[in-house]
């Protein structure tokens, strides 16, 4: 048993719903108690889909448990088949139905429907949403994919784009960017899946020359099976950021044996120049903490370091299945990786590291708000705000532009930051000043908060004591570096055996740490 305030991922059957809802002509019959229908609102309210997810729930109640829930399930399958006329069906159980062990797969198979019925076994008490999505996609492709006719004539190389789902972080926009890249390279798209694909499309997947794995969390298992089964190579670069997009284009061009050059020259790519532009100097060395699913966290950390000149002081993920990749990335950056789906643990890490900015999920946005730290959202879990009206991809050169804009926006502009540092006693410009282009909210932190977090991290008896004038001087340091300054000074004082921190100690520490 594990105490959970907020969850980064839903249960496994939500993952299956993300696949079913992304596709067309597929129906999902879910053996589940009443109440589990809440999942519909994820798609109709958060993603604002115009259609209900193609899911029929058996919605059994206590009175059904003594009776025949198996018949209830079969009736639901029959009604769903007749009403929605899908060309394939997936069936499975939610967490409660898993406990009553009705075997939805076996029951549906016994009905001999004239369409493929694919059973899903998604252990709810061990696994989570992304795994459920990955597994569902894999079983669908495995059941439906057919070996290509050997004599298909293809004038141009072809690929599949795999991994985009419903309720995914900018998946639809990313697909559009990748389609543009492929078009420029002269590569035809065979199938995009699961987003907008039909079961019939899945049968054609092996017709392509290679696969593009957009989101390993969803498509890795499927792509490696396709490689084993049909010798289809697949991409391993995630094209998020200018560098990664360039590498991706070269990887794809290599797989398709085409010239990468046309796609490498994208006039829309502004990040490199904006980042070199002098007004961006103030971004140098901003201390950033990164947290999200593995794909987005790794990509964000690299972009932050190499393309914006931030200092990545920590990285983490809730995707345990991809912990190794995140650990490797952390090693490359010289920091520790936090592998956890415990919101409280992430909060503690942020408080401890005192970053100037958090690149995280909606959960970290909340943490950052409480701690008075700037934040930009880079990954699911999804919030209605993560479905902007404008085209806002993460992938490709246009995606890199979006990253630049959304990450720089929450920060204080360079000159503003300087003025704030110089004239801290200005009554209209004090401690609680937020970036002037943000109405309210943004970064405010009370001295008590910054002190509390520092005290929490070290509660020794022989702690150095802050003298009043030193404390006052500390107050003149802008809030977004004050926590760090306090910690550095205390660390320095302990190092030097100084019991009372004076103004001199503060500046000695500053000189010692070079910051």
């Amino acid at each position: 048993m594990k105490l959970t305030l907020w969850t980064y991922e839903g249960p496994t059957h939500i993952g299956a719903m993300r696949i079913a809802t992304a596709m067309r002509d597929l129906h999902y019959v879910l053996h589940a108690p009443q109440g589990d229908t809440y999942a519909d609102l994820l798609f109709t309210m958060i993603e604002r889909n115009e259609k209900r997810p193609p899911v029929t729930y058996t919605t059994f109640q206590a009175r059904d448990l003594g009776g025949d829930t198996a018949t209830l399930f079969q009736d639901s399958v029959r009604n769903a088949y007749e009403r929605f006329e899908p060309t394939a069906m997936i069936v499975g159980a939610s967490c409660t139905a898993e406990l009553i062990q009705d075997d939805p797969g076996g029951l549906a198979k016994g009905m001999k429907l004239p369409i493929p019925v694919i059973p899903l076994e998604l252990p709810s008490y061990q696994r989570k949403e992304n795994w459920g999505a990955s597994e569902t996609f894999y079983h669908l492709v495995r059941a439906l994919a057919k070996a290509p006719e050997s004599d298909i004539e293809k004038p141009r190389p072809t690929c599949n784009l795999l991994g985009a789902t419903a309720l995914g972080f900018r998946h639809r926009d990313d697909v559009r960017e990748l389609c543009d890249i492929m078009r420029t390279l002269g590569i035809d798209i065979n199938v995009i899946a699961p987003l907008d694909a039909t079961p019939a499309d899945l049968t054609r997947i092996p017709d392509a020359d290679f696969n593009v794995v957009m989101y390993p969390e969803i498509a890795d298992t499927t792509a490696s099976w396709l490689k084993r089964q049909f010798r289809m190579p697949y991409t391993t670069t995630i094209p998020i950021g200018v560098g990664a997009t360039t590498a991706f284009i070269k990887e794809v061009a290599g797989l398709a044996a085409v010239d990468p050059e046309p796609a490498l020259r994208d006039a829309r790519s502004r990040l490199p120049w904006f980042s070199r532009s002098v007004d961006s100097t103030y971004l140098t060395g901003k201390r950033v903490f990164v947290f999200g699913d593995a794909t987005h966290a790794i990509a964000a950390a690299r972009v932050a370091k190499h393309e914006l000149g931030f200092d990545v002081i920590g990285i983490g993920t809730y995707s345990r299945e991809f912990a190794r990749d995140v650990r490797d990335c952390a090693k490359e950056l010289g920091v520790d990786a936090l592998i956890s789906d415990d919101y409280l643990e992430v909060e503690a890490r942020v408080a401890e590291l005192q970053p100037e900015m958090v690149l995280g999920t909606q959960m970290e946005r909340h943490i950052a708000k409480r701690l008075g730290i700037a934040c930009a959202v880079i990954s699911a879990p999804m919030h209605v705000q993560d479905f902007p009206a404008a085209h806002a991809p993460q992938m490709g050169f246009a995606g890199a532009n979006v990253l630049f804009d959304t990450w720089v926006h929450p920060l204080m502009m360079g000159l503003e930051e300087h003025l704030l540092g110089m004239f801290r006693e200005d009554f209209e410009f004090g401690d609680s000043a937020t970036p002037s282009h943000l109405g309210h909210g943004g970064g405010t932190v009370s001295p008590a908060q910054s002190r509390a977090s520092s005290e929490a991290s070290a509660a020794d008896d022989d702690e150095p004591v802050w003298l009043d004038d030193a404390e006052q001087e500390l107050g003149k340091i802008p809030f977004f570096v004050r926590g760090k300054a306090r910690r550095n000074t205390e660390k320095y004082a302990r190092l030097q055996g100084v019991a009372k921190i004076t103004v001199d100690t503060l500046y000695d520490a500053k000189a010692h740490f070079g910051r």
Partner: protein, 427 residues
């Protein structure tokens, strides 16, 4: 544990001559855990710990349409495969998590262990766990339990189960006269009601649930209670078992509903007509004035209710009786005939009611009826809007103050806004 399982069976029985469609099929409803979303704000020093699955945690997080980002006074102890395989003692695990929780939140005085579908199916005995934990953490923290599981409760029945769990904690006030108002109300509404009763000389008045656990009211044979919400079947039964008497009344929605509700209490306390008139005249006039603003928009329009919160019958009565709307179908998860008898009498004759749900068939009926406004849950609202149907999503009716005179206009406005908006937009 709970008796609500029996209730639907009872109400499924055909009653001759009534116009109620009873259906079974897919029910597009929330489970009782959803009640935590408002209950955890109402009782300020209470914490709700769901003992359930990741689905439960995900549901509560998503139930308000978007995630709520305050430090929540609820959490989920997620059962995992180790608990199920018997590798870990679920009770020991629960004790450890409760300890972790209480050490983090020393301000918590009342802890509810809330049962879920998985905890019910694996027969985890939360009442014994609550007793055990209570004896350990008393007097600092009182631990109670109830079930919010989807196999036993629908949406607002979670509040009912929670309040019913509080009843045994109420001290016996014996023959001492008292008016008890039952059902979670917005704080501002509670204050208004308190003042109105005071003006009429009705008292002492107490409210269940209370805002702080230490303020839990007493109950006894001198207690008469008024239901402020129509979904409190179990709570009412528990109060009556303690000797309290229900004052039958319609529910305080709209000017007429509120007046009739107050009048029922006034009658029980033998308040003179003159005093009643004096106490209520001003707010009544204000309510009428506020309602008049919305009547232009609502009058003559047709409305179709999908079953959701059990507020459907009283709200349909309000919209038909006071706002001149036409009722096409009034769906409700359960029809509690006794508590709703006044409301049912005030509905236009021949109103089509439906109890239970087969959502696909109901959607067919709805599309055929072409209502001007549909009241439904969050899963259905946008798909209906996309079909050109104007909707009012019903969870807002639980999250907004809509009871009483001063809120009558707001209540009507919640239904009028989607219609006004549709006229306003030209995109």
């Amino acid at each position: 544990m709970t008796t609500s399982v029996l209730q639907p069976l009872e109400s499924l029985r055909q009653q001759p001559g009534d116009n109620v469609l009873r259906e079974r099929g897919q029910r597009e409803v929330f489970c009782g855990l959803t009640g935590i979303v408002w209950m955890h704000r109402k009782i300020q020093d209470a914490f709700f710990l769901v003992v359930g699955s990741r689905t439960c945690a995900h549901l509560i997080q998503s139930a308000a349409g978007v995630m709520i980002f305050a430090e929540p006074r609820f959490a989920t102890a997620i059962i995992d495969d180790r608990d199920l395989a018997g590798l870990a003692d679920a009770n020991e695990e629960l004790d450890r998590e409760v300890e972790r929780l209480l050490s983090r939140r020393p301000d918590i005085k009342l802890l509810f262990l809330v049962g879920s579908c998985p905890s019910e199916v694996i027969k985890l005995d939360l009442s014994r766990a609550a007793e055990r934990l209570s004896s350990r953490f008393m007097p600092d923290v009182r631990v109670l339990n109830y079930s919010g599981s989807g196999i036993e409760t629908t949406f607002t029945q979670g509040e009912d189960a929670c309040l019913a769990a509080l009843v045994p904690e109420m001290t016996d006030t014996g023959e001492q006269e008292q008016l008890l108002v039952v059902g979670a109300l917005a704080d501002v509404v509670e204050d208004q009601m308190r003042q109105l009763f005071e003006l009429m000389g009705i008292g002492p008045v107490a409210f269940l649930p209370m805002r702080k656990s230490g303020e839990i009211p007493g109950v006894g044979i001198g207690t008469r209670y008024l239901l402020a919400q129509p979904f409190l079947t179990e709570t009412a039964a528990a109060l009556e078992a303690r000797g309290a008497l229900r004052i039958p009344a319609p529910f305080p929605f709209g000017e007429r509903g509120t007046t009739a509700w107050l009048q029922a209490a006034a009658k029980a306390w033998q308040v003179s007509d003159e005093t009643f008139e004096q106490a209520t005249r001003l707010p009544r006039e204000r309510a009428l004035k506020a309602l008049a603003h919305q009547r232009d928009v609502l009058s003559g329009k047709s409305v179709f209710f999908f079953p959701d919160s059990q507020l459907e019958v009283p709200l349909a009565r309000f919209l038909a009786d006071e706002m001149g709307m036409q009722l096409l179908e009034v769906g409700t998860p359960y029809l509690h005939r006794e508590h709703l008898s006044d409301e049912l009498n005030m509905l236009p004759t021949g109103t089509q009611l439906s109890e239970g749900q087969d959502v696909e068939k109901q959607l067919d009926r709805c599309m055929q009826a072409k209502p001007d406004l549909v009241v439904c849950g969050l899963g259905l609202a946008n798909p209906l809007e996309a079909e050109g149907v104007t909707t009012k999503w019903s969870i807002e009716l639980l999250f907004s103050p809509i009871h009483g005179y001063e809120q009558a206009g707001d209540c009507a406005e919640l239904f009028a806004r989607p219609l006004r908006r549709r006229n306003l937009l030209s995109v």
